[in-house]
């Protein structure tokens, strides 16, 4: 065995800690099975955050709920011999004819979503065709899809419930389907097919090109989610305001400005790291609660930031932390807003902001700064 070296041992341990700091939440806490998909990465917790500049405290149990999806799924079953498919409707159906809608706020349902992962690819002999209509789609907007599944096997097959995934390569997001559209598809005999048309709601995913897939793998169709690209760290200027104390909370407001020449998409913080005054960074992410809000302003988990415009986020920590005798007051915090690590908001905390996280941390949504005066 190699010679004993406490310093090397410590640094290897730190290295391992850092290497896993952005480990995802396990996709399942129950046993996986075929086609089972991950549960939501983070459910909104009960959060209380204090509004900036006011002494009131607001509480809200569930900050956001998914807006009802106005969809009328169409389910038809086609029967066929081995070569020719003959459509025969087995239930009344209504074709969704509403256009895609980008007018809705692009952020309201983001808390209900997160990156998710699929499990084992199906071995069922099913052909899948997915069509997306009414492009372009937008973060948080709605669109229409049609899914057609055909049994190319020799026996009966029971397709799993429809789960549509926007696969961005690094991150996968599940679309919201009308509950009726989530019902189990019918058993398909040899050569039979079924199709389902439904209106879907997108989470507030970063704009870009995605593959829309059934269950998150296999053949998909390309979907372009319109909007500006994710904000880049070098374009974001974050300034911490003077710390405040109210209702048992230490409050630090941070103003983030887009210094770039183009608008960018600022996602909700996914992970938080911090740096101590001696330059050491936390080996693992700092747990935080999210979903808080400003009383007077519009909190958003994510938003589009125009050039030169600013947004705000509030960091809140408990004033009283009886279990912590020698806390580390951070000199810098990094809010990771994307999986790539190049869209971090780097916050230099001034000497007036004595932020330690020994007793927890809460983050508000991205809020519009209050107009001057």
């Amino acid at each position: 065995m190699a010679e004993h070296d406490d310093d090397l041992d410590r640094r290897i341990t730190d290295l391992l800690g850092l290497a896993q700091h952005d480990a995802p939440v396990p996709a399942e806490t129950a046993l996986p099975r075929r086609h089972r998909t991950g549960r939501w990465m983070a459910a909104a917790a009960a959060v209380a955050l204090v509004g900036v500049g006011v002494a009131a405290l607001a509480l809200r149990d569930d900050p956001e709920t998914v807006a009802p999806v106005e969809s009328v799924p169409e389910t038809t079953v086609a029967t066929s011999d081995s070569s020719t498919v003959t459509q025969s409707s087995v239930s009344p159906s209504t074709v969704v004819d509403e256009p895609s809608d980008c007018s809705a706020p692009a952020v309201d349902n983001y808390d209900m979503f997160g990156s998710m992962h699929t499990l084992v690819e199906s071995t069922q002999p099913l052909d899948v065709k997915i069509e997306a209509f009414d492009a372009p789609w937008c973060p948080g907007g709605t669109g229409n899809v049609r899914v057609t599944i055909t049994n190319r096997g020799v026996g009966q097959e029971q397709p799993d419930p429809i789960v549509l995934i926007l696969n961005g390569g690094f991150s996968k997001y599940q679309l919201v389907l009308d509950p009726e559209a989530q019902a189990s598809p019918p058993v398909l005999g040899r050569g039979e097919s079924m199709s389902m048309t439904a209106r879907v709601t997108l989470p507030a995913v970063p704009p870009g090109s995605y593959s829309l897939q059934l269950y998150g793998f296999g053949p998909g169709t390309e979907v372009n989610v319109s909007g500006p690209p994710a904000c880049n760290t070098v374009d974001l200027a974050a300034v911490a305001g003077a710390g405040a104390r109210a209702s048992g909370q230490e409050i630090t407001s941070v103003t983030v400005t887009n210094r770039g020449d183009t608008a960018c998409f600022l996602g909700r913080p996914l992970s938080v790291m911090a740096t101590a005054p001696d330059g050491t960074m936390t080996a693992s992410p700092i747990p935080f609660e999210e979903g808080g809000f400003f009383i007077l302003d519009d909190p958003r988990p994510s938003r589009v930031l125009e050039p030169g415009k600013s947004t705000m986020v509030v960091l809140t920590t408990p004033t009283n932390c009886p279990g912590s005798t020698t806390p580390t007051y951070w000199s810098q915090m990094q809010l990771w807003t994307g999986p790539q690590g190049n869209s971090n908001v780097v916050v230099d905390l001034g000497p007036d902001n004595r932020v330690h996280t020994d007793c927890g941390l809460a983050l508000s949504g991205w809020a519009a700064p209050r107009p001057p005066g």
Partner: protein, 157 residues
């Protein structure tokens, strides 16, 4: 020896650790998939009933699945990681930095380092989990430490 294993409970107990381990091996974006593939395969083989240490067994399954992941689907990524590793020395600043440094080790060496340092497993348990001899584990650990000593530098810069 046939034993009754509460697989559901075992999974709930260990999945978070397995995902963190897989993150070190393959990165955060595929960690869940690697764990799920590994666990599902062990269940499909119906082999858990013959295993004394399910936790160690699943760590080995994740190690093997991660090795397949590197071999089959992401050779390019591994090549890039190795290339990046040659120029990555000193203090790691980000998780990607840390994983690039660890990517200079073989998967087995990463497994040995992780299980030894992070989980404080003794040599014999690591050896049993990876189905190699104690001596192999010691050699792998020594080589891994030597490599990490080089890429981490002396830490006093």
């Amino acid at each position: 020896m046939m034993v009754t294993v509460d697989v559901e409970a075992e999974y709930r107990a260990h999945v978070a650790d397995l995902v963190r381990y897989a993150t070190v091996l393959v990165g955060p974006h595929d960690a869940n998939d690697v764990v799920n593939d590994a666990v599902t395969a062990t269940i499909a083989r119906n082999s858990l009933a013959t295993v004394d240490d399910v936790r160690a067994y699943w760590f080995r399954a994740v190690t093997n699945t991660a090795a397949d992941w590197h071999r089959s689907r992401f050779r390019r990524v591994a090549r890039e990681a190795r290339a990046a590793d040659r120029s990555t020395t000193g203090e790691p600043r980000t998780p990607d930095d840390a994983r690039r440094m660890l990517a200079g080790l073989s998967i087995q060496q990463q497994a040995v380092v992780y299980l030894t340092y992070w989980h404080d497993w003794p040599i014999d348990r690591v050896a049993a989990a990876l189905q190699v001899s104690d001596g192999t584990i010691r050699k792998q650990l020594a080589r891994a430490r030597q490599h990490l000593r080089e890429v981490l530098g002396d830490g006093r810069a």
